[in-house]
Symmetry: D2
Subunit: 305 residues, 4 copies
């Protein structure tokens, strides 16, 4: 196994030069683009690592899976999906068009920015600080790492430049999808995106989902099975932005990427995989990370299809 993931990383390395770090968040563009790391955690707890697997990076859109979990736990699926759809979209992750053209004005799914912001408006807590504390707690439990925190620099950077997300949020406020204060909801969103993790952390998250909600470390049930299925399904249909369809064909695994360079993948019944490589392709996915996962999936026959 160690050998396979070493080879996978080596394979992924060959593609790093074709990508580059996210440019639209100033803080993210400063990162060293030549990193590539992987962690694999089986649902029985066994694990392997390779490359820059200890490098810290911000979780970005991968956090949308955890936010979705919390919203469903807090409000129930019926409430959540009355305001956010379940359908994939051929539009870019930050597109605003469908909010105007679709009759219901619902964001199409919880994995695009509009949907994720709507999801954040449903997370409960007395204040934004309390809400974010709850989100952090969930991250720490699911990743089995009590030292997880967030990067103030990245948070401030996103907050200072997140005008497109503000446009999405105000549009949804106008159509009644978002109920609270727009800037507070965005604050939670920017904070959650700036949570810092390593490959091991997101591999653990993937392993919990792979194990239908049971911790690979303690054997404790952390999430109900139906909820882990819900999340894995969204990861397949919408997890890799508007390259989700191609990823499903080439790799065939539930996965969620972030512009920080991470990809969290989950092999149902088997393992969680965390990869990190900040050089992104034009869709915003880690270019080396995708190639590493593609190699691994083919080599180990992991596709769910």
């Amino acid at each position: 196994m160690q050998e396979i993931i070493d080879r996978a990383i080596k394979h992924g390395w060959g593609y790093i030069g074709y990508g580059k770090p996210a440019a639209y968040i100033p803080e993210l563009s400063k990162v060293n683009p030549n990193q590539l790391g992987i962690s694999v955690i089986q649902i029985n707890g066994e694990n392997w690592n390779s490359g820059d697997y200890e490098a810290k990076f911000t979780i970005q859109s991968i956090s949308k899976t955890v936010a979705l979990i919390m919203a469903v736990v807090d409000r129930g699926a019926d409430y959540v999906f009355a305001k956010v759809g379940m359908e994939p979209t051929g539009d870019a992750f930050n597109s605003i068009i469908k909010l105007e053209t679709i009759k219901t004005a619902k964001p199409l799914n919880p994995m695009i920015n509009a949907g994720a912001i709507a999801i954040d408006s449903m997370i409960q807590g007395e204040s934004i600080d309390k809400k974010f504390e709850r989100v952090l707690d969930m991250f720490r439990r699911l990743c089995h790492n009590h030292s997880i925190g967030n990067s103030e620099q990245v948070y401030n950077s996103e907050k200072a430049t997140g005008f497109r997300n503000r446009a999405l949020a105000h549009f949804m406020k106008d159509s009644g999808i978002i109920e609270g204060e727009v800037e507070e909801v965005l604050d939670l969103y920017f904070k959650q995106c700036s949570v810092e993790v390593t490959c091991k952390d997101i591999a653990m998250l993937g392993a919990v989902l792979a194990g239908d909600g049971v911790s690979p470390v303690t054997g404790e049930r952390l999430l109900p099975r139906s909820l882990t299925r819900l999340v894995k399904t969204f990861m397949v249909t919408c997890g890799m932005y508007d390259a989700s369809g191609e990823f499903a064909i080439r790799v065939g695994l539930p996965a969620k990427s972030g512009v920080g360079g991470g990809i969290m993948a989950s092999v149902p019944g088997k393992m969680g995989i965390g990869v990190y490589g900040p050089a992104l392709d034009e869709k915003g996915n880690s270019i080396g990370g995708i190639k590493t996962l593609e190699y691994l999936s083919n080599e180990m026959d992991l596709s769910i299809f």
Copy 2:
């Protein structure tokens, strides 16, 4: 002449029942929908009035003409039209779609909300208060009425509910169309929309435009001729929201409407007309106002075509 406008008002009255006041701004929905008034001012200063011509109403989108004048005066036409287009659009006044689909990301024209907000970001002044003072001064000069002010209630109502406009503004901030602070630009926009006028005020504005920039009262040149042509052209192609084409065919006059119920029309070389009727059709135009103008245009053969 008095007889004709009396008949025109009577004709317009017949249609009031088919419309209703703007609902999306709480403060506007409280108005008495049965009002209808008209003022006509020739470029030589002669004038006539009929109906509820002394009723005060907020100028709303009619202010976009004055804001455009100020931006062009402050920055020059080249600067202004590098950031805002000149083309009519078949989309609704508050549509955001074109900002995403058009390559340049420019709002299509200065008469839709997106364009008007962008225009407001170009008006000069040390602070928002100073900028609004300059806008008010311009209103007072062009309407020849030094007591013109704005309604704090309507301003506060729009500010509290203007989420769609915030979405437009943040989207344009993201794409570099707007340079300053978004909330400050919006503040100026909401203030300018809440300026209170009567039919006489906007008839005077229309008369100044009709006279190529010369005051019907003092004979003083208030605006350069080229600028008044620019404004009248936009009034024809985009002045009546996405009913501009039909209005051009049925009435044939440069005109700008506002959801407050006012319509400012300008008959080149002849006269300015101000009408007020808060019952709106589904496009957001005064339903009685349009019918009054249609009657007048047909009766007096005013169409420019």
Copy 3:
């Protein structure tokens, strides 16, 4: 006057190098791009010419004005505008999007391709040949030239390559806007676009419109006044494709362009102008033609605004 139009042509010449002939119709791309000509005909019949005013070219979209006239004569305005809108659009002339997004599925106006094809489906006649004969008769009467015919080469070229127009027509057939046989309607459309004219012919058409329907040659009334107003209004709001707004500002005249290189302009109460220059700008309008008209309008103060 002769001097002014000579200078205008000279001015227009300076811009020819920035454009190029239409490429999407093979037959049109073969033309000599360095031609530029103008004819001016006053409503009293006086006229002047300059440059390549005798060059023949295909009328293309300018024919949409004549087709609109015939549909309104044949069916009445109410019938026509129940199926085709009156609004300008910010989309390109061959755009199909609005047919899907707008609830009524109506093409926005009779000057875009979709609208013009719908208009053609309303022209009466026992067969396509009979219909086209009627259209040709109307051209001959309005242009006061009984030798007007069409180019079989251009007709065949358009017919062989007009797939986008076929897409528009079938879409409208599906939504019930078009009633007859799609290929027959398209046949009439391709034929009408291939009608060959000179600057003199379209100047005469513009002069008839300028004179509210009266022939400048015979003094005979050829069209009802209301119909000429309707056409001139559409020429202002939608006559120059998605550059209509800018043209209205810079030139200020009702005008209709075609990708054959012609522009037919009408100065209400004064004159018709025909210009021809096959080098087009990126919106599909004659680049030298626009500049010639702009010079003329400024020099002679012709703007209607």
Copy 4:
């Protein structure tokens, strides 16, 4: 097992009243809406049936899976996916918008109408008749039923009314996606949609896909494994029109529906399922069929997630 599928059908029955047969194809609207049937075939050949499983219906969009298989076999995946995308879409199955707004003009995937028509243009054969013969042969082999044919009535009905599909095809012809004769490509498409099958036939197709290409009856390899994965992936991300995301969540199986009322589902490594119920929901999927599959998936824990 027999008991479970009997209960599943009974469950599905309860929802039939909320749907109705396809109205847009005249021939389809005449069917008895109260039918519901199911066939299940394990990859070892064992099988069960319930309800109206012997009723014949036209395969409609389910044929898109077979057409995709043939295009990839004939041209290779690289050629195919240079012209058709791999991404799901939030738009309706017959939407034309993305063809205009997306830079590449490629239809988003092979399961929407535009993509399926493009796919049909890649199937090889000397004539349309030969091509359709090849398609029929493939159907017969994959469904293990040599008597499969097509309904001339439904074919003629679709051909006579398929204007939206003609619009899609001509649009793609214009942008170079389709190379051959548009009407010939459409002819193949209409023919393939009119192929008549029963629940048993499509259950067999699903079983071949479930078995990675091996026939449950003969044990013969009919398709390469990679190709069956490709098809199953598209079935998950785009198989149920713009309800694919919700179906993935509620049922969790690769499936492809048709407006004829059939749904072909494939449980990887286990079985194929064919259901038929002509009452459709507003997305165009068999309403009873979906509920039957949902019951079965939950009861037997079949979800792939």
